[in-house]
Amino acid sequence: MKAAVLVFPGSNREGDIARAIELVTARKPQMVWHGDGDFDAADLIVVPGGFSYGDYLRCGAMAAQSPVMAEVKRRAARGVPVLGVCNGFQIITEAGLLPGVLMRNRQLKFICGDVHLRVETGQSLFTNRYQSGQVIRVPVAHAEGNYFADAETLRRLEDRGQVAFRYCAPDGTRGGTGNPNGSINDIAGVFNEGKTVLGMMPHPENAIEPLFGGGDGRGLFEGLVEALS
């Protein structure tokens, strides 16, 4: 699998996700500077976490207008898989690759720590290593992860199985304190209609080694390798 990781001014988890990809594929991803309107062919495009352009204006809003994102949108339209994590989720949402918006956390504070996620479907490029309904533990680190969509959009997302992950308790139940940011329907990650684009707030790239936060995020990268190699 050939992966490309975008780098914006203010990106800061590009190294984490590049390392996760390298650990799983034994191959360094291509790092793509935001000003580049074109880059080498890739099987997967990753939009990493961070504070692109300082998160000034609105998270992800400026990055969504950068030259590289115009190219990402073209390739996504051709079906090239795109993974956006955290700020990357905000960016691809701002760019219109995914529905909905990410608002400030319910408690209006940055939150960092482990959360539990229920994998809503194991039937996708990104989640084929997980069972539907499986609970995984991965960290979050964000101030604006409160997912929202209007009722009509939400109904469509739910009906079409576009919810990838939901926040939950360690035993998979919802409704308790598992939702860290107030996201509607406990949504932690969503697909586009074709399930070729995934945006998620939690950081699977920081859950790939048992000594450093556990290994539950590794399956996402392994699944991608299997699907895209």
Binding site: F51, A141, A143, N206
Partner: protein
Amino acid sequence: MSSERNPPVKLPNEPAITPAIVAEHGLAPDEYQRLLRIMGRDPTLVELGIFSAMWSEHCSYKSSKVWLKKLPTEAPWVIQGPGENAGVIDIGDGEACVFKMESHNHPSYIEPYQGAATGVGGILRDVFTMGARPIANLNALRFGDPAHPKTRHLVSGVVAGIAGYGNCMGIPTVGGETNFHAAYNGNILVNAMTVGVAQADRIFYARATGVGNPLVYVGSKTGRDGIHGATMSSTEFSEDSESKRPTVQVGDPFVEKLLLEACLELMATDAIVAIQDMGAAGLTSSSFEMAAKGDLGVEVELDRVPMRETGMNPYELMLSESQERMLIVLKPGREELARKIFEKWELDFAVIGRLTDSGRMVLRWHGDVVGNIPIPPLVTEAPMYKRPWTPTPLPAQVQSASVSDPKDWKASLLRLMSCPDLASKAWIWKQYDHLIMGNTAIRPQDGDAALVRVPGSQKALALTSDCTPRYVQAHPETGGRQAVAEAWRNITATGALPLAITDNMNFGNPQKPEIMGQFAGAITGMAEACRALDFPVVSGNVSLYNETEGRPILPTPTIGAVGLLQDVARGVGARLTQGGLALVLIGRTTGWLGQSLALRELHGREDGAPPPVDLALERRNGDFVRSRIAARDVVACHDLSDGGLLVALAEMCVAGGTGATIEVPPDAAMRQGWLYGEDQARYLIATRDAAPLLEAAHAAGVEARRIGVSGGDTLAVRGLLEIGLAELRSAHEEWLPAYMNAAA
């Protein structure tokens, strides 16, 4: 150049230098006389400003220098001790650890968010200036009484500021400490520490060389913020300190992130001769220090400095503390290479001067010389004071037998676990990204020190910050010794080998002999501990005049410490995660209640002598514990400090979700002292099999005793108390969020 000796021109509207203006600049009359002697004429306003900044307590260490010299600063693994932007130690495999702690107390009290944020920004720059990529941040915070009307606002702002800056930079904030005491009501402490890693043969220093080499300004533009911050932080506070808000700098972590990446990119080339961040006293101290360290002169064309506002003058440009700026001396002909890198990162880049052999700082403004100062005398003839001091007498010992046992043991433990100093600080550290970079092996609250992997290796750095100000207040020498010993112990408890410290000395007004006595005593105690534990000081910072309306803070020499673990997989935390483990207490227990938290929280007393620190015992017990961790005998380990044995055990239980049962030995002189006393040099260890551990302890001459076993979902002391873990956890975790969420 002959013009360098010419007297400078006066600028239009430049005021005459009156005694009032001199006093406003914080220069004492005899210091001004010294200035006149050096200059041989009246200074211009910008020259006066430069002397004022360079001779401020903050930049010159004039009251503390004679004492700081007493600290040991050398060891075979020390690459760079105090005097540079940060300390540097060898961590093997050609790698070095670069670290320092620095205060931003006064700005954080005036404007908590920006004050704390720029404190983080400043210490990060100190570390990456030396060529290191920062891999961890820590912070030590002291706030006033929670009941004080300002405290909640200050906690909220400071924590948000630290989070806002560190999170955006992408550096994990992995550890620290937070205390509350009324002595900090009008003067909080915000001490921030950064730890970075560099190639040992690629360290960058501030010493300028090469006459004619270009002086380059990079980073943000210069504005009017922070003018005279260094002078402000060198005076006492009064109630009108808020009028000084304009002297607080405003930070932009996004720009600093770009600056970090651009500097590291430039450092990977061979273009840099010397580099210095513009911190306190901005362009003044950075250009001065670079030239002074290289025995050179410097000529600066101030009109070339990138400016944020129109109408700025030389005085403002030299003294602005605008953030996210660096000064670099480049090799000749490397300007274009460097310019391209900074333009890629969308940062300002300007050649603003050059090095000369004149030994003078010559400032030009549109061609006219507006300042002309000889560099060596400003440094060598800087005021240095041996201020009078009176030692703090050792208070009488509190006799444990004179302190009645709590009527309700269970209530006593719940009270301690929920008191502001011991309550969980998760509300704080969950606002910090402590996981970015994917190297955090021991997270906040999971162990005595944070454990952070050195990127791309199996090694890890153990990081902690410690001080027990109430001990230092009671007896500075003992308190100084204890602060160093506790940092050493916290690193040891993870299995790492303690290597070196950075000290952040926060004290009151040094012109008061009793305050100077606290400083002297603390340094004396610290020096003894550093020597006995092979734990040299490699960097530090002094913050004096921490007083408001004449009321000083508790003397607070915060110790930031670094240790090394060769294999991160061998590290241990303090979480009790399984039943059936034997609990072994290492060290001697006398039941020392003087200055203990139990005495304060349960009996309302803040008196007595602090627990004595026997450094030979510290060393023996600590070396023993480390050796057992290396031998894989230890499942979890926690040092005993605030709150003593029972609090340590309760913390282990809550963190790991497993209960425990212990028994007070029949020979314990006093149950309360045994459970809550704060005797030093002690650890609580959980081990699968106590027998070999006890045997090894005996052979090493270390006191060790099996006191109980882990398991179940309650914490029990036989015959005294039994508390469900859920109740214990609630007591521990609910205080701070409840306090912060309460209506102000």
